[in-house]
């Protein structure tokens, strides 16, 4: 792990990975969108509105995946004072917040024709909304200090406190009677979604993950360069 604490080594690695992940993101997004919008069958009950699922579900997975990753990075940052772990959490936060917003908006658009309402105060929807606020709170906290280091450490503690929300979101559809349907892909006894729908869904999920990797690498690189510029300016001012 500490191999990658060296920013120069990380920069080289990121430069090597970036074109591949960016290319794969574009290819998979195009393929996934084609499959989900044209080549997959409409649902026998929901008709074409089921296609919202191919955006909504991967975005929901990503919102949890990104938060969990940020929390793990926060733990590494606090325990081992890993410099890149702090920066990773900071770089990933807006992306995660974006996925959560997409999940909430598409869910609302899907709910309007299917449930007859844009929003219900049930456990799943409310807990995802809290996740969204956690992302926003984290970003506000990180930027609230004059010393960026202190902001990121405070943010790390907040991320670890907020991790209690992740299992609540995951199991909210099982613990409470909700309007939101229970999990149908990530189940112990295998997915209950038919293959022609499952394949585009998984392609979209991989595409979203690669998009996340690409954007975070870009943001991390920018963050490191920005730091370097700041240090150079400070040394220049000191001379």
């Amino acid at each position: 792990m500490h191999r990658f604490a060296n920013p120069a080594r990380f920069q080289r690695l990121a430069t090597a990975i970036l074109p591949w992940s960016a290319g794969a993101t574009v290819v998979l997004l195009v393929v996934g969108l084609y499959f989900s919008l044209f080549a997959s069958p409409p649902d026998y009950q929901q008709g074409d509105t089921v296609r919202i699922m191919y955006i909504h579900v991967p975005a929901a997975w990503m919102s949890l995946f990104v938060y969990t990753n940020m929390a793990i990075a926060a733990a590494c940052g606090l325990v081992w004072k890993h410099p890149l772990a702090d920066l990773f959490a900071k770089a990933a936060a807006p992306v995660g917040a974006g996925f959560t917003a997409i999940c909430l908006i598409t869910g609302s658009l899907w709910g309007a024709p299917m449930w007859g309402t844009w929003w219900v105060w049930d456990a799943r929807l409310t807990s995802v909304l809290i996740l969204f606020f956690l992302y926003l709170g984290y970003m506000a906290l990180v930027n609230a200090f004059d010393d960026p280091q202190r902001g990121m450490r405070a943010g790390n503690v907040l991320l670890l406190v907020g991790i209690v929300n992740v299992p609540i979101i995951k199991f909210s559809v099982e613990w409470w009677n909700t309007l939101h349907q229970p999990a149908s892909v990530m189940r112990m006894d295998g997915p209950t979604v038919a293959a022609p729908m499952l394949v585009p869904l998984l392609i979209m999920a991989v595409a979203f993950t690669l998009y996340f990797v690409t954007v975070v690498l870009l943001r991390l690189r920018a963050e490191i360069v920005q730091r370097r510029i700041q240090t150079m300016r400070l040394t220049q001012a000191a001379e």
Partner: protein, 221 residues
């Protein structure tokens, strides 16, 4: 233990001699609740229906009010650094200060709540549960709030930021607190809600001071 109690005593003395925090929290609580009849109209049935939720939301906001200064004054005059250097573990310091915060701002709310319930025309069946949920819930609010206060120590616009961080975390407390009162108003047993609330308190009691102390260490470093 004596050191812990002495810390609690110190904070209580400070709060009582300055004499503002406790009375401000209660006054805010009362005013906040009194605003609702003006907002939604004086219809007794509507007020009785929303009484539990209104009182709980007001209690939540009232406990938020003085949280900003939980560690702020000690941080500014440097006594927080001395406390961090003292043989008392920082977790115990956080717990002592949250306990004092609850005694100053939480307890008066519990006393004031039944009077406000009368004003809002709440059914008497819910009074016992109201007091009980507040008795379990307000320490929880102080504990969770303590984490936020420690995190935002030394931040720009700390107060606004504090509410942004803490209010989402308050939602479970609000759900079970108001849920218990609603259950007993509808003739159901409030027991499951109360147990969940007590479970949250049992989890927060060791974990929140721990997280708060971790955040304080970053601040005094």
């Amino acid at each position: 233990m004596t050191r812990f109690l002495r810390l609690v005593g110190r904070d209580l003395r400070l709060a009582l001699r300055q004499g503002s925090d406790a009375s401000i929290a209660v006054m805010f609580f009362v005013l906040c609740v009194v605003l609702f009849p003006f907002g939604v109209g004086p219809e007794p049935n509507i007020l009785a229906r929303i009484a539990a939720g209104v009182i709980w939301v007001a209690a939540l906001l009232a406990s938020l009010l003085s949280l900003e200064r939980l560690f702020q004054t000690d941080y500014e005059d440097g006594s927080l650094e001395l406390l961090a250097l003292s043989p008392v573990p920082l977790e115990a310091v956080v717990l002592a200060k949250t306990l004092a915060h609850w005694l100053v701002t939480g307890l008066p709310l519990i006393v004031a709540a039944p009077i406000l319930a009368v004003l809002l025309n709440m059914d008497t069946a819910g009074f016992g549960t109201l007091v009980l949920t507040l008795a379990i819930g307000t320490p929880l609010l102080s504990l969770i709030g303590g984490i936020g206060a420690a995190l935002t120590l030394g931040a720009r616009r700390g107060g606004v930021l504090l509410s942004l961080l803490i209010l989402p975390l308050y939602i479970p407390v609000l759900i079970f607190g108001a849920g218990a009162i609603d259950a007993s108003l509808h003739g159901l047993t409030p027991r499951p809600h109360l147990l969940l609330l007590a479970g949250l308190l049992a989890a927060a009691l060791p974990l929140a001071p721990w997280a708060g102390a971790a955040a304080l260490r970053q601040a005094v470093e």
